[in-house]
Structure formats: C-alpha cells, structure tokens
Symmetry: C2
Subunit: 302 residues, 2 copies
C-alpha cells in the first residue's frame, strides 16, 4: 500500500460546521475555536463566510471574526466568497484564500445557491480574477460530487464538467465534496479521477461526510491515489442538513487517528485537537460527534 508520507488537513469546523448551527455562535467563541485549532497544529482553517446575513445569519459576524484572529505565521485562513460583493467584504479581513462553492448537480446548484451551474461559474469568474490579481489563493469546492439529495447518483462526467469550468475561470485548487456522504471507495475514486483530468494531484482535495460512516474508507481509497489534502471538521461539527440528527462532516479527530496509525505526518497534536473539539462541543451543549474524541475522552475519565 503506497501512501503519501504527509497529509494536509483543512479544518472547516468554524465555517462549514458552525454555519449549520441553528443558533449563531458568538464571534468570540469562533475566534477561540480557531485559536485552539491552530494551537493543535492545524495549518489550514476555513474561518467564515462572507454571505448575506439575511440568508446565513450564522456568519453575519464574518468581519468581526477575521479581525479578531491572533494569526500565526504559516497558517492559511480561508473564507467563503460566493460573489463579488462577498469578495469585496472579505478583503478587509485579509484572507489567505477565498473559497467559491458550486455543485456537480444541477438541481443542488439551483436549490442551494439559487442558480444554474453555468450561472454560478459566471458569478465566480470575476471573484477568481480579482482574487488572483491580489495574490489570494482560490479554491473551488464542488459539492454533490458523488450523490445529490435531489438527483441521486452523479456521473463522473458531471464532475469532469465542473472541474473543467472551474479550471477555465482560473481556480487553483478543486475540493471534491461528497456532500451527503453516500460515496463509497470506488465511487469516490471515480469522481477523483474525473477531477484529476483538469487539476493536478497537488491541487485536489477530498471532502467527505460521515453520514453513512464511509468517510475514512473513502479517505483511504483517495490516499492510495496519492491525494494528500482533505477537509475535516473538529468534533464532526456540521450535522447533515438533509437528514436530521445524522452525521455530516467527518470529524478531524477520526481522520487524524487513521493517518497517524498509517504513519502519515499531519503536524497535528491529537490530544489538543480533542480538547478543541471538547471546547466547542461543551459550548454547544453536546458531545463531540467523533468516535475518536468519544474514546479518548472516555479513556481520560478512566
């Protein structure tokens, strides 16, 4: 089994995770979470989203959160910027990376970002141009790359199409996201192969949900393809908006446990990461949605 020797994890908890909380989390708590993540060794953190507070009140404090960060050198702080208005709002916070967020499924694009795939690409193009002109890294995320709650299975050709469009407008990185967690190892590999037709191995990452418990198996399958960048969410923050009570983002703790067990370096201190997850879970009044965190916390309490 030939695997990468190092893996970079992007913790998307503060953004993708907390965006799905019913009650907005105070900016100070979000800032404290980012600080704990960077202290645990995370070098890539998706911090917030510059979107309309009317649609996403959970992220209304984006500017405050970015302004409040005690930044560490070597850490990349990224923000979602769905359009030029968001991008311009983001600039003051000096993000290291902006994220544009589309879909491989037409129906999901319509329902999630209220426009067709083609329209979304048109909307993203000036954002990419403006970001690159300012030397800001651009990551495109393709949601529903394996399955869609409205369209069912997504063919690899659809993934390739979105990847081609994202490449054409100048995105430097493509995140391949199994938004509803229905992917299994071979399906995920086929989606990745399609993405790799337009992006280099070093410019592709996996974003897996654990709704059906498949995230780590899918990660292993992608590691075997040489893919070395993955999103994950501390304490499994995020839930799954399409199935109440179900699991969403894979927990960073669980991914780290597997990677370290495989002898792969992440630069992350698992104990501190569990602490970060416990911190935010305590605030939210629930237990971390991570099997590793559960086992580690049980072990600690004897």
């Amino acid at each position: 089994m030939q695997l990468p020797s190092k893996v970079k994890l992007v913790d998307v908890g503060p953004r993708d995770g907390l965006q799905n909380e019913k009650e907005p989390v105070p900016a100070a708590v979000k800032i404290a979470l980012v600080h704990r993540l960077q202290d645990a060794g995370l070098r890539d953190i998706e911090v917030t989203s510059h979107v309309s507070p009317k649609w996403v009140p959970q992220m209304a404090d984006a500017a405050e959160v970015m302004a409040g960060l005690a930044r560490q050198p070597g850490v990349r702080y990224s923000v979602l910027t769905p359009n030029m208005k968001g991008f311009e709002a983001a600039l003051q916070g000096k993000p290291d990376e902006v994220v544009i967020f589309g879909a491989a499924s037409e129906a999901f694009s319509q329902r999630n970002i209220n426009c067709s795939i083609a329209e979304s690409i048109e909307r993203f193009a000036p954002v990419v141009e403006a970001a690159r002109a300012k030397g800001i890294h651009v990551r495109a995320v393709m949601s529903t790359a394996v399955g869609c709650p409205y369209e069912g299975e997504i063919a690899p050709e659809r993934v390739e199409m979105f990847a081609r469009l994202a490449r054409q407008i100048g995105a430097q990185h493509l995140g391949v996201a199994d938004t509803i967690g229905v992917g299994t190892p071979r399906k995920v590999q086929r989606a990745m192969e399609a993405a790799l037709k337009h992006f280099e191995l070093d410019a592709v990452s996996g974003h897996f949900h654990d709704t059906y418990g498949q995230a780590l198996a899918n990660t292993l399958a992608c590691l075997q393809m040489g893919i070395w960048q993955y999103d994950a969410s501390v304490a499994g923050l995020g839930g799954c908006p399409y199935a109440k009570g179900a699991t969403g983002n894979v927990a960073t703790e669980d991914v780290v446990f597997m990677l370290h067990g495989l002898g792969i370096e992440t630069g992350i201190d698992l104990d501190k990461l569990v602490d970060a997850g416990k911190f935010i879970s305590d605030f939210l009044g629930r237990k971390p949605n991570s099997r590793v965190a559960t086992a580690v916390l049980n072990k600690r309490s004897g």
Copy 2:
C-alpha cells in the same frame, strides 16, 4: 482496486452484542432477533455462548435460545464453547459451528479468560477434537490481534504464534479480532499477513471494532488482500467494555452499505437489516449505533 466479488458477513450481535448488555435480554427477544437477521439474508449468525451463568448471566438461556430457533436451511448457527463442559452443553442445540475464543495478548488472556495463552490452547484442544469428530466446524477467534488494553500494541509475531497454535490443534478457521478498535489499515493488514502464514485465505476473517471509527477503512484494507469474511454486529450491538459509552463492534448496516456501494454481493437486504437493528434497539431503549441505520431511519421518517 481488485476486490472479492462476494463477501460473507457473520452477524455476532445476538452473542457478542447482547453478552455486553447489563440486563440479560429474554430468550424470546434473542430468538426474534436471529429470525429477523436470517430473514434479512444473513447466512451466518453467532447465536449464543455456552458459558457459566455465574460469569455470564446474559447467556444463561443458551439452550433455550438454540432450541427455540426456526432454522432456515443454508444458515450456519454458531455458538461459543470455551471448554469441554460448554461443548457438551452445546451439543443438544445442534450448532453448525463452535467458536473457541483466545487472545494474542498474554495479559488479555489472563484477565479475560483467566488462563495463559498456552493453557487456553490446551483447554481448546479437546473441544476441537470432539467437534471435528462430530463434523462440527470449528472457528478460533484471536482477540486483541492488533492492540491490547493492558499491553498496548501487539506485534504480528504474536498473531502468528496464536495462529500456529490454533492450526496445530485443528481449528478450521481463524477470526482476527481488533478487540479494542485501535487498528488502522496497515496494522490490520500486518496482523492478517501473520494469520495467513498458518491459515488459507478462505479460512480467515476480520472482526473489527469501531471504537475509533476505523472499522470500515480496515475492512477495505483487508478486502484488498482478498479477505472476504467479516464479523459485524447489527445496530452496532456490543459497546466497548473497555471504554464506557464508546462504540464496540462495527455495525453490520455500515459494512453492508460499503460493500454494496463497492458492487460486492452480500445477499443481505439492507432495509430489512435496518429493521432488525431497530427491533433490538427499540427493545433496549436506545438508538441503533450505526451511522447507516441512523441515516436510513431519518430518511424514512422524512
């Protein structure tokens, strides 16, 4: 990715799962669970254990459960028989398979079955001989094959030693069990490679715990070695006696979802399996400990 086209799952829920419940489950409920499992397509079910009711009151009804089964042709009903006394008690129930249960870790053997590994093998030898004389299949299970709660990591040499001893006394099959769920894909593969020095590929199975969420990734790694037999427990029955509240046996539902997604046949109807898990979980007054069951039940309830 070359994988087996078919996989056989052994549901260990009625035995390994319910043995870990504080309150003994009534025989009628156990029988109903076995019936639901066979109706869902399971062809291998670990039903009960013939052990001292003083030590394991949960299995005191072993004879009653075996006598109460409406057996289906083609289904293998297995029982644990730790010694000759248990084996003789088991005979009346006409099991298709008896299971002997040892450990790769000396400390675990001492604490779990109150004897050394060498003594356990001595105790098992007459059981194997008597079973084979009667044409009953014998499966040996090696617990703590990757890690031990008392000794830490277990070297593959220890696995090989237990495998050699089990083979010497005539066991026909070896189950390699990661009892505390600390295994990750490469470690599990190394344990399997050691087991395969003494047992053929068709005579080895994997038994993984999901305590750290690694069971499906470990299963995928073993599928890639050609291993096509796995234990699992419906609804994740079993818990983890070494970490309160943590997950034990991997849920059969989660394994089936991955296998079917990979295009591997199991003969199991996932919906009926989820029903079986819900049946026993409702009886126990909790939710199934399976991400797939959670997602499927959420989806059903709309």
